[in-house]
Amino acid sequence: MSLDAAIAATRFGLGARGTEIADPPADPRAALKAQLAASSAFDAGDLVSSAEALTTALAALRAPRRTPPETPPDDPTDDPRAKLAPVLDIYADEIAARTRFAATTTAGFRERLVRFWSNHFTVAAVKPPLLALAGAFEREAIRPHVAGRFADMLLAAESHPAMLIYLDNHISVGPATRVATRRNLGLNENLARETLELHTLGVDGGYSQADVEELAKAITGWTVGGRHVGRDRSGEFVFAAPMHEPGARRVLGRRYADGGVDQGRAILDDLARHPATARHVATKLARHFVADAPDAASVAALERVFLDTDGDLGAVSAAVVDLDAAWAPAQRKMKTSEEFLISAMRALAIPALPPRRLGGVFRALGQRPFAAPSPAGWPDDAAAWAGPDAIKKRLEWAAAVAARVGPRRPESFLDNALGDLASAATRQAVARAESGAQGLALALMSPEFQRR
């Protein structure tokens, strides 16, 4: 039972906090499922909406330009830091809030799912406005749907200003429209391709280049209010009919009559319930909770629930808890850098790091929030997180934090953070350390704490 509690806290949750393992709930599986039913305790507090964040960001970035208007800076670092200050402030507030929440929540499983889906629908802050928008994207498009319907999350994500800007759809114009001819604009297929490849069917999901182009045309006009369109809805999702490619579209063999914004919605709705989507999502969830290469039975079980419930993510997540393979004692998942940092904060009862240092710590560990290397998100396999350099950076951080936290009994840290997961070798190494700080550094770096 104690091992189950340790697995519930570390593999399903974000790491054990306080006496989560020492004083476990009577039924760890039921306790995990209860997190799905409860409403989220995340409090947005003073965090600004995406519309406000985008308006702030664009105002800041529109201050005297260095580069000509036709080539806006694409890389945040192209901009003088001072000009970016309001944007960086919003970004710092967002990552501080979500990190504090992750480090303190009692619903760690639910929060892990938020991060899983946020990574599935990656928005990486590669353009300055996205530094301000990425946090709002997670709060507005991901959090509300984590135990809801996949179709709702899909629509919320693909129509969110952050995603539209990230994958260039806000400027994609139907080639047959007057806007295209008059203003020399046209189609951009980036969002359509990643919707099919990464967000729904998966790369082997059976779509063609023609499907990509048809979906891209169907979602032309999905843009963001600003100077050119939807002035009264600045920073919000706007459907700009003049940018929308007229006519029916054919995607995966099915015809969609032109219905303005509803045309794209109808396609997304069908993609959300497509068997290839069920398989893609089931595979990723099993990879996250079972092993880098999950067994076929686990994938099939999740796939069946996804299809049977029409993509009810509450039911699918509960099915993850019901997977026997997810409770195997062997720790088969290497923690990502962020998981390592958050689990260490939870185990050490550090609710927050100084906001100005937080970004630097994440960057040093190689996983700045909302800065995944590509639209595919952060990788979810051990090879990506256990490279020599990654281990060295973790050790350096562990040694530094252990020295700062000061003398405390590292053996009790092991009891609270790992419980029965701690091996005899780790207990011995920690007990024989030459100082409390060294013992704590070794505990944080132990094979069992590096995994989940």
């Binding site: 590669v126 951009n188 790369v203 190689g366 590509s374 490279g387 020599p388 040694a399 030459e434």
Partner: protein, 386 residues
């Protein structure tokens, strides 16, 4: 307590001047160095190496094509982008060649699958769990040490023979007693044990050389730090290094003479110059491959950028290169692949094989079957190296 390994290496790093540093690496084949620079995100080859001789170039992508008067002429109707002056000078000196209309066997348009095929060296997606460079170095007579620049070991180096990885340091060092104890604790761990051992080794090598203090920049400004690090590690004894440079997915506002892609090409140009600088006299024995997962659409898209395409461009540089040429067959722009992309007339494995055969001395049959399985049809080019 196992201070033996860590002590020696840490001392080598801390007091290189006082100790005769036994090079951690010293086993490259005939000292032939190979550096692979992967441009992740798909470089627009038609912008990097515009074929000005093509009648349709202007109508297809006038908005993405730099002013010919500013570009560096290569002859035969080709030129290098204005932001590539160092590459142009190397080309003029015979130390660089361009391979155009080139692609891996991958024909779809996913970055991730495309990079997998490029790096695994197989004819199909997920055809191998290891990378071609890792398989190749296992076939050289003597072991070749390899390093990936970045936090993780890239796919191209994945496999049985462990490769190291290295990235710029930001945090303070852990003390050597903790390192030694952790080495003990990881003794039975198949994942973390080798990773820590490699980290300690690579750090000692890097620290033992002067000036190993790369900056923290990101984007094009950081490219040079990464290639300079690769250069130092190659001079220090590594036989192969891999550098990943991100940010080439220019879907919107790509620019032409200036702008987004020009900035990135400028960063690449400085990075290649910095690499040559670090290699010093070793440059004469070096080959540097600059490759990407696929090219981009021949026509400009609706947002002043380009979408995922097929045929692209690659560079091969180094003192060991027989340069000053544009390599491969040129398909022109009159006919396009699937009516949208530059025709992939050349197989990037022909270039890779040419380098591995003539620079590292690998056997042609091994290249056709073991390094690049089922690749007999992609014949190694002659005369690229030498």
């Amino acid at each position: 307590m196992s201070f033996r390994l860590t002590r020696r290496l840490l001392l080598a790093g801390a007091a290189a001047a006082a100790l005769p540093l036994r090079p951690v690496f010293a086993r490259a084949p005939g000292d032939a160095k190979l550096c692979v620079v992967i441009l992740r995100g798909a470089l627009d080859g038609l912008a990097a190496v515009p074929p000005y001789g093509e009648r349709r170039l202007e109508s297809l992508r006038g908005g993405l094509t730099p002013d010919r008067a500013k570009a560096h002429d290569l002859g035969d109707g080709f030129a290098l982008h204005p932001s590539l002056p160092t590459v142009a000078a190397l080309h003029a000196a015979g130390d660089a060649a361009v391979a155009h209309a080139i692609a891996s066997p991958y024909r779809d348009r996913s970055h991730f699958d495309g990079q997998d095929v490029l790096e695994s060296g197989t004819a199909k997606i997920y055809g191998a769990d290891d990378g071609w460079l890792n398989r190749a170095r296992g076939l050289v007579g003597a072991p070749v040490d390899a390093v990936g620049i970045g936090a993780a070991v890239p796919m191209i180096l994945a496999g049985d023979a462990p490769a190291a990885s290295w990235a710029p340091n930001i945090l303070p060092e852990a003390d050597d007693s903790t390192l030694a104890r952790l080495t003990d604790l990881y003794a039975g761990d198949p994942l973390l044990g080798p990773a820590l051992a490699a980290a300690i080794e690579i750090d000692a090598t890097a620290a033992a050389m002067d000036g190993m203090a790369p900056g923290r920049g990101v984007g094009p400004a950081a490219y040079e730090n990464l290639t300079r690090a690769a250069g130092r590690l190659l001079v220090g004894g590594a036989g192969a290094a891999v550098v990943s440079l991100d940010g080439w997915d220019t879907h919107a506002n790509q620019g032409a003479d200036g702008g987004q892609l020009a900035n990135k090409l400028g960063g690449l140009d400085a990075a290649l110059g910095g690499l040559k600088d670090e290699l010093g006299e070793t440059w004469a024995r070096s080959v540097v491959l600059v490759v990407t997962e696929f090219g981009r659409t021949a026509a400009m898209n609706g947002t002043q950028g380009s979408d995922h395409g097929t045929g692209g461009a690659a560079l091969v540089l180094g003192g060991a290169v027989n340069g000053g040429r544009v390599l491969g067959d040129w398909p022109g722009l009159e006919r396009l692949h699937e009516d949208r992309d530059l025709v992939p007339a050349n197989d990037v494995r022909s270039l890779f094989k040419a380098v591995l055969r003539d620079h590292w001395g690998l056997d042609a049959a091994d290249l056709d079957t073991r390094v690049f399985p089922d690749s007999g049809a992609a014949r190694a080019w002659d005369g690229v190296v030498g």
